[in-house]
């Protein structure tokens, strides 16, 4: 089943601060993503992998094209939908794991991870229990759960971020280098999470720096560089 369709997508950046220079990045991209597959975005740095992934989350605003998401049984074009609808799509259908955790001051890690569940109406105790199980899987020591992640190491923050991203089991997930600062053991834990998500039928699109991770989780490759404007 197709979960997401990128249609005729083009994106350039106009840098008004730098004399109005226009940087074309994506030109006429078409990509369908099916349930249960993991599409790996390929291309050298600067080829537009992150731009495509961020556009697929409506974090960036492409000039032309559509990004259609199967949301609660209907197709929604998140590029033209009202902001409220986009937020609803993100809450229930479309997950995103960024490279870095955007820390919220004072909020303990356990709550940071439980929050996506609270947002879809799961009651606090149940959300915390699931968050605890997820933190455990990602090998975050229990003594850190009550602390805000601001002071954690890069790898710990990244794992808190992954826990937060995977906890609500969104039908579609976008992963931006989720394993970049992890050691082998933690990388393996993340690979297992991705494999389980695929087995549940989650449609995944990801950027993975590590060749080994790419080989192990990817079911298909999409070369952004080949579709790049020349």
């Amino acid at each position: 089943m197709t979960m997401m369709r990128v249609k005729d997508l083009s994106k350039s950046f106009t840098l008004h601060e730098q004399g109005g220079v226009v940087l074309p990045v994506l030109d006429n991209i078409n990509l369908d993503v099916m349930a249960g597959e993991c599409v790996v975005l390929l291309g050298p740095s600067g080829s537009g992998k992150s731009t495509l992934l961020r556009s697929m989350y409506a974090n960036y605003k492409p000039q032309t094209g559509r990004i259609e998401v199967r949301h609660e049984g209907a197709w929604v074009d998140i590029l033209s939908a009202a902001p409220r609808m986009v937020l609803n799509v993100r809450k229930r259908t479309l997950g995103y794991v960024s490279q870095f955790l955007r820390v919220i001051p004072r909020v303990p890690s356990l709550e940071v991870v439980a929050e996506p569940l609270r947002n879809i109406g799961i009651e606090a105790a149940a959300a915390r229990a699931r968050a605890a199980a997820m933190l455990e899987r990602l090998r975050i020591p229990q003594r850190l759960w009550s602390l805000a992640p601001a002071t954690f190491s890069g790898g710990e923050q990244q794992r808190v971020n992954i826990a937060r991203g995977f906890i609500s089991q969104s039908p579609i997930m976008l992963l931006d280098e989720p394993t970049s600062s992890l050691d082998a053991q933690n990388r393996a834990a993340v690979i297992t999470l991705i494999d389980e998500a695929k087995a549940r039928g989650t449609a995944i699109v990801g950027i993975f720096h590590d060749e080994d991770v790419r080989r192990r989780v990817g079911t298909r490759q999409f070369d952004v560089a080949l579709a790049r404007p020349t």
Partner: protein, 260 residues
């Protein structure tokens, strides 16, 4: 599908002139229940004037502000009588001023500041009012031992939290805030932001927050309006406006943030 739901607030073509100076020009937007909207821009861009016109503190020069009232359908706030506006302001709306002294009664105790708003909507039972006030002081992290103290003896951060409690005690559906963290130390700001974030989420409040601080906007807002010289130059999802700003002025604002 969710757009079938009527907006809580609709601002239509709102303008405000001071003599020949244009403070706000033809501002139009909608706000839905539970939505947090931040108005950002530099000082002098017209943010506060816009907030004051929408919240009926100042008269507008032209345009309408339509509000979905609890019992009487949609009403144009700008056409309401002063008595109707006052009723709205002490029941369904909250107004949090930048300077807590403007929103608190400095001559009565902390508990009375919270209780007074309840009495204004008809609460009479002293025990209930005291219990409600205690509950709210607790919620905004003010030590109950301070309930009988005057707000003047509180720190700036505590005064701001007290002002928030005073506003939220009547369970408003819409809250207006002007630079709620302005003038506070950074550590105090973080605590207040965390509190605000939790409150708007738990109470499903709609809020319009004026701030010049993009970090505050990122943390609190679902949606942003960027104002420059009285006009909205860009609007949209908070992270989209901040991460992929389109308008030259928004790009300037975003690129001016100091990275830490």
């Amino acid at each position: 599908m969710i757009d079938l739901e009527p907006p809580l607030l609709q601002v239509e073509g709102l303008s405000k002139l001071y003599g020949r100076n244009v403070a706000c020009k033809n501002v139009t937007f909608k706000l839905w229940a539970g939505e947090v909207l931040c108005i950002v821009g530099e000082s002098g861009s017209g943010k506060t004037t816009l907030l004051n016109c929408i919240s009926a503190i100042q008269p507008q020069s032209s345009g309408r502000v339509l509000y979905q009232t609890r019992h009487a359908g949609t009403a144009d706030v700008t056409a309401m009588s002063d008595a109707q506006k006052r009723l709205l302001m002490r029941t369904d709306w909250g107004i949090v001023h930048q300077n807590p002294r403007d929103g608190l009664r400095m001559g009565v105790s902390a508990g009375a500041n919270v209780g007074e708003r309840l009495m204004a909507v008809g609460a009479r039972h002293y025990g209930h009012i005291r219990a409600e006030a205690t509950g709210w002081l607790n919620r905004v992290e003010i030590d109950i031992d301070r309930i009988d103290d005057l707000p003047g003896t509180f720190s700036g951060g505590m005064q701001q939290r007290l002002q928030i409690a005073r506003n939220l005690v009547t369970k408003p559906r819409l809250v207006f805030m002007d630079e709620p963290t302005g003038g506070l130390d950074v550590s105090v700001q973080a605590r207040l932001l965390d509190l605000l974030r939790a409150l708007v989420q738990d109470l499903q409040l709609a809020a319009i927050i004026v701030t010049h601080d993009l970090a505050v906007a990122r943390l609190l807002a679902h949606r942003l309006l960027v104002m420059r010289r009285g006009e909205i130059v860009e609007s949209g999802l908070t992270d989209q406006v901040l991460d992929d700003p389109q308008h030259p002025y928004t790009q300037l604002l975003v690129s001016s943030i100091l990275q830490t």
